[in-house]
């Protein structure tokens, strides 16, 4: 639609080169794994095909539910103002940034066999429910990804200028048809794609809540190939299959997404004019309460579990926290820089490069990077910088998603004006784009930092022992029966991660309409 029509004077060059560099880097990592392989990969087995089918099925269901349910919640949050709203929005984001195993244990404390829900059902003499199976996998992914859906869609709502809303109200036109539906049309494909791609490489959730080998994902097959069979040819083959799937879905999402051209206002954002009437108000409150209960109860259980473990915290906790924060800050800075360059460039290649890291098995890319580094240095010694760099790459799709639509908006609304004023290059970035990007940039940087704090997959590949981060410390304690101490570390981890997210997000919102 509007894409390409208003591209006067955009800053393209670095974005294009970067997109190629990212795709090239991922390709090189997979290639390094394939090159190390002893033989050629065999045919995919029946078990692999059924893993592929299950992977796509659960990812599609998880994406549809996470994004579908996020719409009414985000709308309610966008148009209601109440005490504690800002804090609630921050907290609702928490499940997304938890290390998966912590999230799963919290979820089980609520929905498991001896969880809160089943205890309530037992009190009411109702039959028990079991979450294990496809339903459990989808529930787990919903818990982890609903927060992402809510935030991405909420941003869309907040990007509608309030002048537009007032105008629509005055004209007695349908706000839904004129403003909200077009906004959703531009935001939803990206949100659906993001959740779909995350679930495509799901491992711990699919396995732990899946109930058995019926719920096997491709990522497990990759894990088995790398860890148990050391069949690197097969690992590379499966990773390429995942990449191809991811690229195909990215292409579909790109085609169906569109820049809006909502029109400029006085930079006052957000639907402050809520529809009057009892029924909409009641419905909005209900959605907010339901989402809060679903997302916060497991979190409360994690906190409750962790408080007891605080007394058993290992002596190295302070250093581990510092390392985690340092890695997170580096990852966030790198991620934001990459995403900004990609978003400024825009175009299909940038979208692809901004999505691909999600569709790539972290295990295979990590293994590839390990092999590439091994010839040069001891990868273990570079554990923390490598972890930061790979975390930046893992966070890139979310950061990109978070700011690219905002950049498109700015270019669509102000691009012609800027071009006619001769505002190009660095001046355009400084005067036009960055000031309007504060909010999404703060959000994106917070997200990247918080996600990096929770990383376990990458650090496990490169760790050597003394460079312990918080998730690694938690994982090691769990492996040594110290579940209480591990719960304590998990609590510290949640706090650090939320604090980082809140600081960045808050920073981005100051002087905007907080």
């Amino acid at each position: 639609m509007a894409r390409g029509a208003q591209s006067l004077g955009r800053i393209r060059a670095p974005g294009l080169a970067l997109a190629l560099a990212i795709a090239g880097f991922l390709g090189a990592a997979v290639w390094a794994v394939a090159a190390k392989a002893a033989g050629r990969p065999g045919h995919l087995s029946a078990a692999d095909w059924s893993a592929l089918r299950f992977t796509i099925l659960q990812a599609a269901l998880s994406a549809a539910l996470s994004v579908g349910l996020a719409i009414p919640v985000a709308r309610a949050l966008a148009r209601r103002r109440f005490a504690g709203r800002g804090v609630l929005i921050t907290l609702l984001g928490a499940p997304f940034i938890l290390p998966v195993i912590v999230a799963v244990l919290g979820l089980i404390a609520v929905f498991g066999r001896s969880g809160l829900l089943n205890e309530l059902l037992a009190l009411a003499h109702l039959p028990q429910v079991s979450i294990y199976g496809l339903a459990g996998v989808v529930l787990g992914h919903l818990f982890l990804n609903l927060p992402l859906g809510i935030r991405l869609i909420l941003q869309g709502w907040q990007a509608i200028p309030s002048e537009r809303v007032r105008l629509a109200v005055e004209l007695e036109g349908s706000r839904w048809r004129l403003l909200e539906w077009p906004m959703l049309q531009s935001v939803l494909p990206g949100a659906l794609l993001a959740v779909f791609l995350i679930c495509l490489t799901s491992f711990t959730v699919a396995l732990t809540l899946g109930g058995g080998p019926k719920a096997t994902t491709l990522e497990l097959a990759i894990y088995q190939a790398v860890r148990f069979d050391f069949d690197l040819a097969k690992a590379a083959q499966l990773a390429l299959l995942q990449l191809a799937l991811g690229a195909a879905f990215s292409a579909v999402a790109y085609r169906s997404g569109a820049a809006l051209g909502m029109g400029s206002g006085l930079d006052r954002r957000g639907i402050s004019v809520a529809p009057t009437g009892r029924l909409p108000a009641l419905a909005d409150s209900l959605w907010i309460m339901l989402a809060a209960a679903f997302l916060l109860l497991p979190l409360v259980m994690v906190v409750a579990d962790g408080i007891g473990g605080l007394a058993d915290l290992p002596s190295g906790i302070g250093m581990a926290a510092l390392r985690s924060v340092a890695v997170a800050l580096a990852a966030a800075a790198l991620s934001v820089a990459l995403a900004l360059a990609l978003a400024l460039g825009g175009g299909p290649l940038a979208t692809l490069a901004g999505s691909l890291p999600l569709a790539t098995s972290a295990l295979v890319v990590g293994t590839g990077v390990f092999l590439m580094l091994h010839g040069l240095t001891n990868p273990t010694r570079a554990a923390l910088p490598v972890t930061a760099a790979l975390n930046a790459l893992v966070g890139l799709p979310f950061v990109f998603r978070g700011i690219s639509s905002a950049v498109e908006e700015i270019e669509a609304n102000y691009g012609r004006l800027a071009a006619s004023l001769g505002l190009f290059g660095r001046a355009r970035l400084r005067l036009l784009i960055l000031p309007r990007l504060r909010r999404p940039l703060g959000f994106a940087a917070g997200l990247a930092a918080a996600m990096s704090v929770g990383d376990l997959g990458v650090i496990l590949l490169f760790s050597g022992g003394d460079q312990e981060t918080l998730p690694l410390m938690m994982y090691r304690l769990m492996g040594a029966y110290r579940m209480d101490a591990a719960a304590g570390v998990a609590l510290v981890l949640v706090m650090v991660s939320l604090a980082l997210f809140w600081l960045f997000d808050r920073g981005g919102r100051t002087n905007a309409d907080a």
Binding site: K36, A47, S50, I101, V104, L105, I108, A109, G112, R113, S114, S130, Y132, G136, F203, T204, L207, T208, L209, G210, G211, G212, P213, K214, T216, L220, A221, Y223, Q224, V226, R227, F228, F230, P314, S315, G316, T367, F370, L371, H374, N378, T380, L460, L461, S463, G464, G465, L472, Y475, R476, L477, M478, G479, A480, Y481, R482, M483
Partner: protein, 328 residues
């Protein structure tokens, strides 16, 4: 003044680095929980460094499977002198890499099975078992477990060594009937986790009546937490064993030090810390016997263990049998 000060510092640095260069470093790759604050690592390091005149450096790499995978990725260029923490489901793969050297003569071992492996030296061992609360009625064997309403949580044999151990256990006990046993167990299995930690965590959260772990797991709760509420179920078929081993890397630049460590591994300084840090049986029983509390652990009537080449040969088919039976 400033210059003198700097040259002093430089001199000290030179002395320090000279001293460092004279101390040989022995690098041991092991799994994560071995080197944790509560694992055997710190005590083992202190005891060995007392006598070796060396710097013992542990490099902790995930779990047993991750350990082997890291070593195979690094190949002959590895910095490891010793790899410690493989189990017998992994040793054939490790042996086939050609990276390991044969060990020298071993001290007499206290294993329930004869040890003939030319390359790998066992340092501890245990029996797999289902661990449950003491109040839960224990089934007598796999068949009565399958016939009961009891719920268990197990690990995936495609990502976890205990999970693979369970598959081997059923295979060793039931042979051709293994698939049938798994099909009967399907409705008892709450879920299958990627690793031991997740499964044990779920069990402690009350998600299952029992979890696949070790006969010695109750010793942790008893000794470290003073909690006598956990027991292991003795099964009539016998219990499959896990033997954890270490091996010397053939290309090591510290061959003598590596041999010295493998010999030290079977002495008091190493073995005595194993029962209360790794919560497994030591390969050589310490002079003072096992710590108080271990006498309450069950002793299986029969120990099951496939030789490592045999285990490697049946593994793929046994895991596929498991997958097919539970996917129905």
């Amino acid at each position: 003044m400033r210059k003198t000060h700097l040259s002093h510092v430089a001199g000290l640095c030179l002395i320090a680095s000279g001293a460092m260069a004279e101390t040989p470093v022995l690098t041991i790759y092991t799994y994560d929980s071995f080197t944790s604050e509560w694992g055997p690592g710190p005590a083992v390091e202190a005891a060995f460094e007392e006598t070796c005149g060396c710097d013992l450096k542990f490099v902790a790499v995930g779990d047993g499977a991750a350990l082997l995978s890291r070593l195979l990725l690094e190949g002959a260029g590895t910095e490891a002198d010793i790899v410690l923490g493989l189990d017998m489901t992994l040793t054939e793969k490790a042996r086939a890499s050609g990276l390991f050297a044969p060990h020298s003569d071993l001290a007499p071992l206290d294993l329930p099975v004869e040890w003939t492996d030319p390359a790998f030296v066992p340092f501890d061992w245990g029996w797999f078992a289902f661990v449950a609360d003491v109040d839960t009625t224990a089934p007598a064997d796999f068949e009565s477990l399958a016939a009961s309403d009891l719920k268990i949580v197990i690990q995936d044999p495609r990502s976890s060594t205990p999970g693979l151990g369970l598959v081997m256990w059923v295979k060793a006990a039931y042979g051709d009937r293994a698939g049938e046993i798994w099909a009967a167990l399907a409705d008892n299995i709450v879920t299958v986790t990627p690793g031991w930690s997740e499964a044990y965590g779920l069990f402690l959260e009350g998600e299952a009546d029992a979890v696949l772990s070790y006969t010695t797991s109750p010793a942790y709760h008893l000794i470290a937490e003073g909690d006598a509420s956990k027991v292991a179920w003795p099964f009539a078929e016998g219990h499959y064993m896990q033997v954890e081993v270490a091996g010397k890397i053939a290309g090591t630049d510290q061959p003598d030090l590596a041999d010295a460590f493998l010999a030290f591994m079977l002495t008091e300084g190493f073995q005595s810390v194993i029962p209360t840090t790794n919560w497994m049986y030591p390969a050589v029983t310490p002079e003072g016997g096992l710590p108080e509390g271990y006498e309450q652990m069950i002793t299986p009537g029969q120990s099951l263990l496939l030789a490592s080449d045999e285990a490697q040969a049946v593994r793929e088919a046994a895991v596929e049998e498991w997958r097919a039976a539970l996917s129905r």
